[in-house]
């Protein structure tokens, strides 16, 4: 089943095309990677999917329903959550509250607060942060802030999770933990769409990879196929 699909998605900033005519899809249960050099339009695509940006060109469908034109909060409540390339946490709130807010607002009917609080604790534990529940989020390390973001996104009970550069700036051990986390998320029945620069990680964890370059899709396939794709290798080596 196609949980997310886009047809002819384009976005211009001023005269510059950040994305031109990109078709893509994500199937339920998959882990799909989105890669490409800096400025390829990866985050733009995520922003369009999550409605942080709007475009009139192209159609994006989530669970078969057209979502272009909806507001971010509506998309979130439909079951599509995301994290951010540069962390956007609620810095002065405790880590737990960050997650709690996700479960409180991210679900259409709303969650009874006691239940939401319990869920939040559980999710913090899931990302390995049960020790820092009351720490203000801004005092956490970058890794842990990213984990808070993941837990917060999970708290909205998504069916599809967009992870934007979860592993950037992490050391090898932390990358391994993050990879494990991504797999664990999928094991909870959540489809994952990731942007990643760490090649080793993305090759290891993804079922399928989409490659963007200068706003256009230049390749798509299994990690194996991508690794052997000439256009992709050129883009990366030619840099």
């Amino acid at each position: 089943m196609r949980i997310l699909e886009g047809e002819g998605v384009s976005k211009h900033f001023g005269g510059l095309a950040a994305l031109s005519n990109v078709d893509f899809h994500v199937d339920a249960g998959e882990i799909v990677g989105l890669i490409g050099p800096n400025g390829a339009g990866k985050t733009t695509l995520f922003n369009l999917v999550s409605a942080a940006l709007t475009t009139k060109q192209g159609v994006i469908k989530f669970k078969g329903r057209k979502i272009t034109g909806l507001k971010p909060h509506q998309i979130c409540r439909m079951g599509l959550a995301r994290t951010f390339q540069s962390v956007k946490i609620f810095g002065n709130m405790p880590a737990l509250t960050n997650v709690y807010i996700g479960s409180l607002f991210g679900i259409p009917a709303g969650t009874p607060s006691a239940y939401a609080a319990k869920g939040a604790e559980e999710l913090l534990e899931f990302v390995g942060l049960s020790a820092s529940k009351v720490t203000p989020a801004k005092d956490l390390t970058l890794v842990n802030q990213k984990r808070v973001e993941v837990a917060r996104a999970l708290a909205t009970k998504p069916e599809l999770l967009l992870l934007d550069e979860l592993m950037a700036g992490l050391n090898p051990t932390e990358v391994a933990q993050a990879m494990e986390l991504v797999t664990k998320i999928r094991d909870r029945g959540i489809t994952v769409f990731v942007i990643e620069h760490v090649m080793k990680a993305i090759m290891g964890v993804c079922d399928r990879i989409i490659v963007l370059h200068h706003g256009e899709k230049i390749a798509e396939g299994t990690p194996q196929e991508i690794a052997n794709n000439r256009a992709v290798v050129e883009v990366y080596l030619g840099e």
Binding site: H73, R77, R82, I89, M93, I101, G102, G106, G110
Partner: protein, 317 residues
């Protein structure tokens, strides 16, 4: 000490104390007619303005300088309708009209951030002022209006009711899911939107709710001023004062702005009457010293001294 503390901290004791204070205040005009009625109602008014400002701006981080616009709308409602309807109705209408203005303004402008929002709202006050002025002069061939006379004790009771409503609203918003949404918008608006919070709706409605109280207090205080015109009604002073008072008191918790407004109003009046020639100088120095040495406002300072005092006490025992 401990037993006293436990009594003082007892919740029902606190509620009881609040009730006693409220009853004492509410019955005051029955046996007292002096100037303290006026002094108190001025203080109430500034507490209302400040707390209303904090309800929206304190948590979302959008610094609104529109208070004077909502206040002025209330004042004008009173001037236009004061002699036609009972005063309570007039106050209600003033509140609603202000709230509608805030709703419109909010819907239009809340995408402006930071200093731009502040300056926009400030420009708005001036625009409304000059439009009213232009309207009065060119369409009605007049300037200014006399406002219906109302007894001080009635004004006092109305203002007290507005104050109680404001404080209750602020308190419950702070403790509610809604307050959490506001706070997360202040922390990071984009993330809040992606967490399923309808940020536009939350902001606009809160803005409109906060304007309710400002408009209501404008409508009732206008009756004390007896004569108003656009320059008097839309005085930018009433935009700046709530901000100063909130920062002066400290915005961390609800008590900060309340104490800030009380202390500020009291201080300003006493200095203005004791040292009329020098009070601005003294006041300016107090502001600067406050901002240099009390980064968390008056409440922050008291807290620091308190904790220090406690430590010493602990060390003594």
């Amino acid at each position: 000490m401990n037993s006293v503390a436990s009594i003082v901290l007892n919740r029902s004791f606190q509620l009881g104390l609040l009730a006693v204070i409220l009853i004492a205040l509410a019955t005051l005009p029955l046996h007292y007619q002096g100037y303290n009625i006026v002094r108190l109602l001025n203080i109430f008014m500034f507490v209302v303005l400040t707390v209303s400002w904090v309800i929206f701006s304190g948590s979302t981080g959008y610094m609104s300088l529109a208070s004077a616009a909502f206040f002025g709308v209330g004042i004008y409602t009173s001037a236009l309708l004061g002699d036609k309807l009972p005063i309570a109705v007039v106050v209600g209408i003033g509140a609603l009209v202000s709230s509608c203005v805030a709703f419109l303004v909010g819907a239009l402008t809340l995408r402006l951030r930071g200093i731009y929002f502040a300056i926009f709202t400030f420009g708005l006050v001036e625009l409304i002022k000059h439009l009213t002025l232009w309207w009065e002069i060119n369409m009605e061939d007049r300037r200014g209006r006399l406002v219906v006379y109302v007894e001080n004790d009635i004004i006092f009771w109305v203002m007290l009711s507005i104050l109680v409503a404001t404080l209750l609203t602020a308190y419950f918003i702070r403790r509610s899911k809604w307050g959490l949404a506001l706070q997360s918008i202040g922390e990071n608006e984009e993330a809040a939107a992606h967490m399923g919070i309808n940020v536009t709706l939350v902001k606009v409605i809160t803005f409109a709710v906060s304007a309710l109280f400002v408009g209501a207090s404008g409508a009732i205080i206008a009756t004390r001023w007896t004569y108003i015109d656009p320059g008097i009604a839309f005085n930018p002073l009433y935009s700046f004062m709530p901000v100063l008072m909130a920062i002066f008191g400290g915005m961390g918790r609800l008590l900060g702005p309340v104490i800030g407004a009380i202390a500020f109003t009291y201080l300003k009046e006493e200095l203005g009457t004791e040292f009329p020639e020098l009070y601005m100088l003294i006041f300016g120095i107090i502001l600067i010293v406050a901002i240099l040495y009390m980064p968390n406002g008056l409440v922050g300072l008291i807290q620091r001294l308190w904790i220090r005092g406690f430590r010493r006490q602990d060390a003594d025992t």
